[in-house]
């Protein structure tokens, strides 16, 4: 059996977070009452004309700069095809002279994916097919919401440099971080802020030529992206291995059925009849504007990761553990790294702040993103100094998250959380050992499993107020016959 390579190129459509739409003054907002943010221009009414939104250009340049693209003089084209949710029956899009050309994106695993272009275009309206099954073919009618029509998009086209579904996932994750850092996107895939099409082909390992590709549409989540690429690659391999041939076509990812289905073949593809949009003038941002755009880019994910790694490893540790590396990636992807940095600034140890962020904060992202950083910082400090135990700290954090902040010390008091004073702990441990002599002897004889038994007994006796770490230390001290610390 031959080995097969999967080759993937991604087209990521990013809705820009501008105040207004690309060519008119209507509000650019998700989730408003349908057809409330509309005007003659975005409805494509006869006689209306587009006027380019400068903020959209600025955000597009930030994206280009962050992706190491060259910012070039550009023009807009009309992409002509009929579709009911496209008001003018053409889409204004950049074509062969886009604003951003070339570039690359480095992924956390040090692989590099080339960027072909990142161009500006307008979004279409949103069609909802109404009918018993909710599927297009059996729909009785369709409703169109034009609030999305004319929302600015930047389409980022990667080179076919991606070699697996998991790398595709890493690419989109990293790109999302970049887009959020530039201020161009809110990164909300579930709201359609980021939409991905995947071009997938397979080839025998070592083959230099690309196979025939299929374009997969309707990838609304990272999960869909991974599943669709894996399915499609398997489908193509199976096809070729059984003597078939992949035909170039556009396929639709059916999330429910877990498979891709043909949408239209190359022969059925639209002839978009591109030509330069005569209602707009060429775009040629001057150097000063380009610099202004570049200067407005926030800290990119790679820099954010480096910042956390440096914090975690400053001190005696050296390199971060692989677990810490995963935590750093997760915390940065979830936008929680600023909380960690703030906590460290306020005196919390980086490693513990990272753990709490990667576990407890990540588990409640909705609240974590609005959490008062100083409350988090104070809590981590309390845990570090032993004022509260790990178990207690987690409970306090949960309360802080649901309240959006607050004073962790006060929460601890209100709940009666106080880590056991050290001399009381020593006493409780001694009492527990006394009360369970037989087990203690077995422990001394080398049955390490009994450490858990004693910890449980001590926790029960202190009603959870004992610090697990101190309990372990105390048990070890007694076993080794060391003097009291």
């Amino acid at each position: 059996m031959t080995d097969w390579d999967t080759v993937v190129g991604l087209e990521v459509h990013c809705e820009l977070r501008t105040r207004t739409k690309l060519f008119c003054g209507c509000r650019n907002a998700f989730g408003d009452e349908p057809n409330t943010n509309i005007c003659p221009v975005c409805l494509g009414l006869p006689g209306s004309l587009p006027v380019l939104n400068e903020q959209a250009v600025e955000l597009a340049m930030r994206i280009g700069t962050a992706l190491h693209a060259e910012i070039r003089p550009s023009i807009f084209h009309r992409k002509n095809y009929f579709y009911p949710d496209m008001p003018k029956d053409y889409q204004i899009s950049q074509y062969d002279e886009p604003i951003n050309v070339g570039g690359w994106l480095d992924l956390p695993d040090a692989s590099r994916v080339g960027i072909v272009r990142a161009h500006i275009e307008e979004d279409t309206g949103k069609t909802t097919h109404q009918g018993a099954s909710g599927r297009i073919h059996s729909a009785e009618y369709a409703l169109v919401d034009y609030n999305r029509a004319g929302v600015p998009l930047v389409e980022i086209v990667s080179a076919p440099d991606i070699r697996s579904a998991s790398q595709a996932r890493a690419y989109v994750t990293e790109l999302r971080g970049v887009l959020v850092a530039t201020g161009a996107s809110d990164g909300r895939m579930e709201e359609g802020s980021l939409r991905v099409d995947a071009n997938v082909s397979v080839r025998r390992a070592g083959d230099e030529h690309y196979g025939t590709r299929c374009e997969i549409k309707n990838l609304n989540s990272l999960r869909s992206l991974v599943r669709a690429i894996e399915y499609e690659a398997d489908r193509q391999v199976a096809l070729v291995e059984t003597g078939g041939r992949v035909v170039q076509e556009t396929r639709h990812w059916d999330e429910g059925a877990g498979r891709t289905v043909p949408l239209r073949s190359k022969e059925e593809a639209f002839d978009y009849r591109y030509f330069p949009e005569p209602d707009l003038v060429p775009l040629d941002p001057d150097a000063e504007w380009q610099q202004r755009a570049a200067g407005a880019i926030g800290l990119l994910p790679a820099a954010r990761r480096a910042r956390l790694v440096e914090l975690v490893t400053s001190g005696e540790h050296g390199a971060p553990t692989s677990q810490q590396q995963d935590q750093v990636e997760a915390v940065v992807n979830q936008g929680l790294d600023d909380l960690v940095v703030d906590a460290v600034d306020a005196g919390a140890p980086a490693a513990l702040a990272l753990v709490r962020a990667a576990n407890e904060l990540a588990a409640d992202l909705e609240h974590a993103t609005v959490l008062d950083p100083s409350a988090f910082a104070r809590l981590v400090v309390m845990e570090t100094t032993g004022a509260v135990t790990a178990t207690q700290a987690k409970a306090i954090l949960a309360e802080l998250l649901s309240a959006g902040g607050g004073d962790p010390a006060e929460v601890a008091r209100a709940r009666g959380f106080e880590a056991l004073a050290d001399d009381s702990l020593v006493a409780v441990v001694a009492e527990t050992v006394e009360a369970n002599r037989a087990e203690w002897d077995r422990y001394l004889a080398g049955d390490d499993k009994l450490a858990g038994f004693f910890t449980g007994q001590i926790m029960k006796a202190t009603r959870g107020k004992a610090d697990g770490k101190r309990v372990a230390e105390e048990l070890r001290r007694l076993r080794n016959g060391e003097p009291e610390a």
């Binding site: 409805l43 006869p46 009911p84 003018k88």
Partner: protein, 484 residues
Amino acid sequence: MTGVRDLAASVRAGERSAVSVLDGALSAIADRDTEVRAFLFVCEAEARAAAEALDDAVRAGSDPGPLAGVPVALKDNLCTRGIPTTCGSRILAGWHPPYDATVVARLRGAGAVVVGKTNLDEFAMGSSTENSSTGPTRHPQDLSRVPGGSSGGSAAAVAAGFVPLGLGSDTGGSVRQPAALCGVVGMKPTYGLVSRYGLIAFASSLDQIGPLARTVEDAAVLLEVIAGHDECDSTSIDRPAPMLVRSLDRGVDGVRVGVCAELVDGTAPDVAARVEQAAEALEKAGAEVASVSVPEVRFGLSAYYLIAPAEASSNLARYDGVRYGLRVPGHDVAAMNVATRTAGFGPEVKRRIMLGTYALSAGYYDAYYGKAQRVRTLMIQAFARAYERFDVLLGATAPTTAFALGERVDDPMAMYMSDVCTIPSNLTGDPAISVPFGTGRDGLPVGVQVLAPALEEELLFRVAAAVEAAAPAGDRTSAAGAVR
């Protein structure tokens, strides 16, 4: 004959009411428009309300503006809030725009009273106003003839004396050619001088809104009101409206006038003779007149009939039956689109959509659209060279006087030739004006065309005023004879 400046002045001074001026226009329309059929829709109620408001304003001591009380006819491809706007097409029947075109807003702001919407070739595609879904407009002087087109309704409304001012749109000569045939002044401004916002697009890179008027001065007054930067139109030139009226009487002493051979040769002998006569008159008035050849003019028609249909095929895609206008049901969306467009568009519009769709198709773009754009560049360069030696160019506006209704409807090429002299200015984006200058052998008006470089409107109007002053006596006033 009262000019619009004097008319507005009398309304501003309270000597004459806007309502009485409007009544005059409405009664003239009622008298004769059943036979001329210049108007598709007369908005009497809105016009009366506007006129009454103007009179109230004057009585209250405020000044309604330079066009106070002046009735204006609008080509029906200009969007008017709440007033039907159809482009002469079944596909837009019943559509009431929710907004005013920029030019309409500026007219209202200057005190003009919009009387109604005038007939046109469907979507401005034609040269005779016969391609209207509601039937042709007739030449006011000879009802068996066409008024020209596509702004034939506005030209006829001014020529018949219904209103002193009209607006048209000029994509390949659609203001100037009907002006010439009807014996009125018609002008196409520099591309970008007048906002296109609210002008229903035919060919976006060629369309310009232009004035139709009885005199050069009236046209200048109207252009001053509608010109100037508009942030709603990205192709609008960012500079203030030109001041035209103040220099109209400065004469043409020393102005270098080139009589363009390609804009005279091939026109009817009686038309060519009038151009010669106008050239002589300008020379007599102090201009330096010489002949010039711009051979690239000959490619204009071919380039135009690729570029204009290509843009039109895209501009007219939106009439799909989904959101407004006509909808003919179908078993699915695509079938509904096809049924709607099949029923909604007339044959000339369909012809141009197909032509344009073909010209933009994959594999044909370079040979057709791309090549036409290169020809356009050559044309711009050729005129730029001519303007190194001449300040303005002179030629005919149309090859013939008004032709008979039905004469060219079955021969698209003959119809397209009607615009051969006007198309170059649309391709170059330069301004041009048609001034009535006597009549042809049939006694119908002839227009002489003056062309100038981009943004030289002031000079263009000055030369036009000199041509007008030299026009053979009697002929011009006979064209506009019904004026009160």
